[in-house]
């Protein structure tokens, strides 16, 4: 194991997570999920993956395989706020690509997502932009989730307002699920 790696989740915490899931079906998935959750930046950092591999005796290549299969897992630090733009068919026809393009006011965002990255996080770690295949809220398209709250029939004006509010640290009171 590489000893110079930054520690994001204490091994004691990982030990607890492993102990509480020992022997349960889907042990690896749950452990990975909870370790990601315990990470301040909500991602699976190398040190944690290597510790899990060692403790659960699951090869690193397999942990990486699982982590890259499920879009739920992040391999990069996530921002304090997350904006998820739905890219399902219904949202697409109602203009979700435009919403994603609107977010290109964040420098580097468009390049990252166009090159196939699954998410983009601003340098100051304040905002992460992701896409998802479908939220199952097609009647309300286009749909955007901001910090797990779903916003519907979103317009360019609204998404930029949300972004500004997040950047100013405000709670958004103006947009509600309609």
């Amino acid at each position: 194991m590489n000893t110079t790696q930054e520690i994001f989740v204490e091994t004691k915490k990982i030990d607890e997570i492993i102990a509480s899931n020992a022997g349960k079906p889907g042990e690896l998935l749950t452990v990975m999920e909870e370790v990601q959750e315990a990470n301040e930046f909500k991602f699976l950092d190398p040190a944690s993956m290597e510790y899990i591999s060692c403790k659960l005796k699951v090869p690193l290549s397999q942990i990486y395989s699982v982590a890259t299969f499920y879009s739920f897992f992040n391999l990069k630090p996530q921002g304090k706020n997350t904006i998820i733009v739905c890219r399902g068919t219904a949202c697409h026809t109602k203009g979700s690509k435009v919403l994603l393009d609107d977010l290109s006011v964040l420098p580097g965002c468009k390049d990252a997502l166009d090159s196939g990255e699954s998410s983009f996080t601003t340098e100051d770690k304040q905002i992460t932009v992701k896409t998802v295949a479908c939220f199952g809220q097609c009647a309300l398209a286009p749909v955007v989730a901001v910090n797990s709250v779903i916003y519907s029939n979103v317009t360019s004006e609204q998404i930029l307002q949300i972004l500004q509010n997040l950047q100013e640290g405000k709670k958004d009171e103006n947009l509600k699920l309609s």
Binding site: M1, N2, P46, M49, E50, S53, C54, P59, L60, S61, Q62, I63, Y64, S65, T68, F69, Y70, S71, L75, G116
Partner: protein, 589 residues
């Protein structure tokens, strides 16, 4: 008696062995079902959809590589819907595969190319859909080109199940699915042993050896350089196949003649240093037994195995023999003993190895493998920037075949020639290093006579021959009984190491070979390498042994001479300087 079942294939009834898949049963009765991802004994993840057949009563086409044949089953292996499904599935695979066959190293030896011809695909109907992933050339041994990968999963299966190394796995999902290492670090930066079994089973050129044949040609053409070549025991039963001869063809003399035609200044035999290894390792074993040293002692000839134990069992490194592999002993001896004999500057000497092995490419560049430089440093007043390695290049069987072909050598019709002296003289004991159990047998031939002072009752130690995963034997060395074991594949090596770490190993001496069947089934050998082919290569190796006038390493006159004139004694000062080594703790990452 073997249980039989009756199945109907293409309207005719057949009796076939029970418990087999439809694909195997059909093969048994002479009906070949085309397949791609399936590989006997290695991979059956049914991902390609080429081997589909119709089974009466089944809703859809079934994949014959994973479906068991059962009593009364009615199977069709050809029909319009089968043909269409096979073609469509193959065309979908071809959509993302480059069509640059003419300039591909597997041109003419590619399962995808063959299948495309077999199924009569005439046009590329679908366009590319996948992003291009970068080439992984991080290791000294292997190159991965993901663009040529068809995601059959054979490499992953062989790495996980045969070798228990798990260096690679599928990563990503959907169109972004790829075979990759942990964090896409590349094979050079993870716990990969470089055994090359992945390259051996790859149906395309998605994983292959790092080709150095061009550099070797350049050195041969350079008049200032004195280029000597050594050939591993397993090459003489592999290169014939790679040159289009029959499986397991024993072609020692033709190989020597071909190498001379390529322009090597001297053609030598790694079997000479295999004999030298037996002297050093045999004496090391005797020393350990007599002096309560660390036992069991484990052989150290196989560099994939060395990297495996360094990664996965670093606590057990003391069990490894300190002997270098025959390849490395050769380099060290060539650039000291032989250079001195010829009075040539060791810096002008280039040592090329022909090996059945991709891990050897890494081994020769291990920083400690520069003993000849250490030997000459003071004598010639060299500084660290003059550093040179004992072995300069390692070429696999496949690379040598490429060189022969490029040089217009009519290999099949070459007249046989003899190795050069003195580093080309070897015994039957050196030859059998190519087969699993061979090092053990060779060591016993010498150790028995050294310990007991009596001639060996029977020279053939049949109990350690054959392809059983772990073989064991008890030897009576004039009253001292020792147990020995022989393992091939890293999975079996792991079993023996776990036993050692639990303190339950009953053995004094263990031989480990990385690849299935030993070096004759090595990752650098001719493609294809199947168990049937390994059997034939092994038979040829034991024939080579039995044809040798001298069959025990300590009786090799060239070995006697090198001890008399240069090394003085096994485990002596010079041996330690040139022929022994140390290991590195690596851990898993």
């Amino acid at each position: 008696m073997e249980k039989k079942i009756t199945i109907t294939v293409n309207g005719r009834e057949y009796k076939v062995s029970a418990g087999k898949t439809i694909l195997e049963s059909c093969k048994e009765i002479g009906i070949e079902i085309p397949s791609l991802c399936y590989l006997k004994d290695v991979s059956h993840n049914a991902s390609c959809g080429i081997c589909v057949v119709e089974v009466k009563g089944a809703r859809t086409l079934v994949r014959s590589c994973v479906t068991q044949a059962s009593e009364g089953m009615v199977v069709k292996t050809n029909s319009p819907s089968i043909d269409e499904a096979r073609k469509t599935n193959l065309e979908l695979i071809l959509a993302n595969h480059p069509k640059d066959c003419l300039i591909c190293e597997r041109n003419g030896n590619c399962e995808l190319q063959d299948l495309t011809a077999t199924l009569g695909i005439k046009e590329a109907s679908y366009g590319k859909t996948k992003p291009i992933e970068p080439i992984d050339d991080t290791s000294l041994s292997l190159v991965r080109n993901p663009e040529k990968c068809i995601l059959c999963g054979r490499c992953i299966a062989v790495c996980a199940e045969v070798q228990t190394v798990h260096a690679i796995d599928f990563a990503g999902r959907g169109l972004r699915t790829k075979v990759s290492t942990y964090q896409d670090k590349g094979l050079g930066n993870v716990a990969c042993t470089y055994c090359g079994q992945c390259a051996l089973v790859c149906p395309t050129a998605a994983i292959s050896e790092k080709d150095e044949s061009r550099t070797v040609f350049n050195d041969i053409y350079d008049d200032q350089k004195y280029v000597v070549v050594q050939t591993a025991p397993a090459i003489r039963v592999g290169i014939g196949e790679a040159m289009g001869m029959e499986e397991g063809a024993l072609v020692t003399g033709k190989m020597v003649a071909g190498l001379r035609k390529l322009g090597f200044d001297k053609v030598f035999d790694t079997q000479f240093t295999a004999d030298l290894t037996i002297m050093e390792e045999g004496f090391e074993l005797i020393h350990r037994i007599k002096n309560n040293g660390t036992l069991p002692m484990i052989t150290s000839c196989s560099p994939g195995w060395i990297k495996f134990i360094e990664h996965f069992f670093p606590k057990s490194l003391d069990h490894l023999s300190t002997c270098k592999s025959p390849q490395q002993m050769f380099g060290a001896v060539a650039k000291t003993y032989y250079a001195e004999k010829l009075n040539i500057d060791p810096r002008k000497m280039v040592v090329v190895s022909i090996m059945p092995c991709t891990a050897k490419k890494f081994e020769c560049k291990r920083p400690e493998m520069n003993s000849a430089f250490g030997y000459w440093k003071n004598k010639l007043g060299l500084t660290d920037k003059d550093n040179f390695f004992d072995v300069d290049y390692v070429l696999t069987t496949r690379e040598l075949a490429r060189m022969f072909k490029q040089s217009g050598i009519d290999f099949r019709n070459l007249d046989e020639e003899e190795f050069d002296l003195p580093l080309g003289i070897s015994t039957g004991a050196g030859a059998i290093f190519a087969a699993t159990g061979g090092v053990m047998e060779a060591a016993v031939r010498t150790a028995y006579e050294v310990i007991t002072g009596k001639p060996l009752p029977s020279i053939d130690l049949k109990v350690v021959r054959g392809f059983e995963g772990i073989k064991e034997a008890e030897l009576d060395l004039d009253g001292t009984k020792i147990k020995v074991a022989v393992a091939h594949t890293l999975k079996n090596a792991r079993t023996l190491l776990e036993q050692i770490e639990e303190g339950k190993s009953p053995y004094a001496f263990i031989e480990v070979m990385t690849c299935p069947g030993g070096c004759l089934g090595g990752g650098g050998q001719a493609i294809p390498t199947t168990w049937e082919i390994r059997e034939k290569r092994a038979a040829s190796i034991y024939r080579e042994d039995s044809l040798k006038p001298i069959r025990k390493s300590h009786d090799n006159p060239a070995i006697k001479e090198i001890y008399q004139d240069f090394l003085k004694e096994p485990l002596g000062h010079k041996s330690h300087e040139l022929l022994h080594t140390e290991y590195t703790e690596r851990g898993v990452y």
